[in-house]
Amino acid sequence: MAAIQVVRSEWTKIRSVASTVWTLSLAVVVTIALGMLISALSKNDFDTRNAKDKLSFDPTYISFAGMSLGQLAMIVFGVLVVSNEYSTGMIRTSLAAVPQRATFLVSKIAVATGLVLAVGLVTSFVTFFLGQAMLGEHKASLGDTGVLRAVIGGGLYMTLIAMFSMGVAVMLRSPMLSLGILMPFFFLISNILGNVSATKKIGRFLPDQAGSKIMQVVTPIGDDTPYGPWGGLGIMALWVLAALVGGYVLLKKRDA
């Protein structure tokens, strides 16, 4: 079984279902549009900010504000890519065709990841440039220190969010269960844990909070986060690795 055959097969699978197009389009549109909106609003109320807030003003990070909602569409993409197999019964046909489950899973994840990475990077750059255009005189430029890292990081962040969702979906199989856990987790619980002072120290080790550090260029005053941008992305990558390994172990031993 040549792995390249399986990769080609997974590419046919991913491009031949409608959910791929609409989830990714939604992620792109929401991330860009919301980023532009919030950038425009930030420009308008810049003068009303106090001196401390002005010092912490991070035009790059602001333009990525749409990511908080756009990532939900990425989660849906990641979940559906995997759980479609289970909800339709296709998994039995797939595993009969590719009985090497490691090859099957790695190929599927690789194809979906490649696609998300391409879409994520394009989205990230477009989001940055359009967001900066909205910010007018307060804008950052790609050549400024840390900005290029943040913009590439935005694409990596989207990719890792989707990969994490894929891993969770392999473990849980059911699309409803996976979405029912991931959506509220990333949209509500993570935010709550990160904003309540008692749980803040734990909250910042959650995948989305650690990973989004990569998009930050200006460190807020009084910020005591114990890791840097790449450290944060590394923490997120560890979550992804754990989810995927967990998924593989279950896939390996489970009856299809």
Partner: protein, 317 residues
């Protein structure tokens, strides 16, 4: 050639497949028969490496399923007609399967043509009827031009024309020297297509025999006779060397003699007969007798016992 050796699958306390040993040979259609819940589908999933056996082994041409290079070119299976993504077109469904096993793209068009789905190749599978879904599943099984084919309840949901088509397809495939293994819970269906029979009940092997032997052994033909002069008739029949089985309801059953002979014998001794009828036990009856002790889900003809509000459940606890 598929060989099963001591194949066993347990789910907790429940044994779904119990120590199955048999071989499926090439060149013939082998019917895999058993009542609902007998373990047929579980056995087939284990053959394809989808479910892991608790004990025992399955080998395809001497190899384990996951050792096969491009397995679809060895063995093609239709397990469940709905085992596909409804949002994908028939063509793309088959294309992704073909690519995963290095099967040339032109085979997709060929098998779509074979199963008669060319006209709807670009249509999404979710709009397909059960019969069309079944045909698409069969196209997937044929894709790799495999020497072994496996169909789980293929006639389910097919119209008479479709059933006729699949019977002929299976016979043609076997005549080409391929191994054809097909499951069913209908004896009558098997009688029309299978050359060899493997019967299971509650996961255990009940019979592994050629169809001809099964018919010879099980389709018992006999003559039923009733007479008011039963004792005298018995004497006459014994005297003529005829074996008689006395049934509980007063009638006699005679194996191995024609009704004409019995009638003439009775006339010769002037014995009045109230019934003289040739009987043939159907294969379906034979199958039901064979599996009677092992039917998983019995339908009870009598009404359920009336629930006593203060009945047995309260006593002795």
């Amino acid at each position: 050639m598929i060989e099963l050796e001591g194949l066993t699958k347990r789910y907790g306390e429940k044994t779904a497949v119990n120590n199955l040993t048999f071989a499926v040979r090439p060149g013939i259609v082998t019917g895999f028969l058993g009542p609902n819940g007998a373990g047929k589908s579980t056995t087939m999933r284990m053959m394809l490496g989808l479910d892991r056996p608790t004990a025992g082994d399955v080998r395809i041409d001497g190899k384990h399923y996951d050792q096969l290079k491009d397995p679809l070119t060895y063995i093609g299976a239709l397990l469940d007609a709905k085992a596909m993504h409804g949002g994908r077109s028939a063509h793309n469904h088959l294309l992704c399967l073909a690519q995963s096993n290095g099967i040339p793209k032109k085979r997709v068009r060929e098998v779509l043509d074979t199963v008669g789905l060319t006209a709807v190749a670009k249509k999404k599978a979710k709009g397909f009827s059960l019969g069309m879904g079944q045909r698409l599943g069969i196209a997937g099984a044929l894709l790799g031009d495999p020497r072994i084919l496996m169909f789980d309840e293929p006639v389910n949901g097919l119209d008479p024309e479709g059933i006729h088509w699949i019977r002929n397809l299976m016979k043609t495939l076997a005549a080409q020297g391929r191994t054809v293994f097909v499951s069913s819970h209908l004896m009558s269906e098997m009688a029309l297509t299978a050359d060899h029979l493997v019967v299971i009940g509650q996961g255990r092997l009940l019979a592994d025999t050629s169809m001809a032997d099964f018919i010879a052994q099980n389709s018992r033909s006999y003559v039923r006779v009733r007479s008011p002069q039963r004792e005298r008739l018995l004497d006459v029949l014994h005297g003529a060397g005829v074996t008689v089985v006395e049934t509980g309801n007063g009638s006699l059953e005679i194996d191995g003699s024609k009704s004409e002979y019995i009638g003439e014998l009775a006339a010769q001794y002037q014995i009045a007969l109230h019934e003289l009828s040739p009987q043939q036990a159907s294969l379906e009856e034979a199958f039901m007798q064979l599996t009677a002790g092992s039917v998983e889900y019995h339908a009870h003809s009598d009404a359920p016992a009336e629930q006593q509000p203060w009945g047995d459940g309260w006593k002795g606890n």
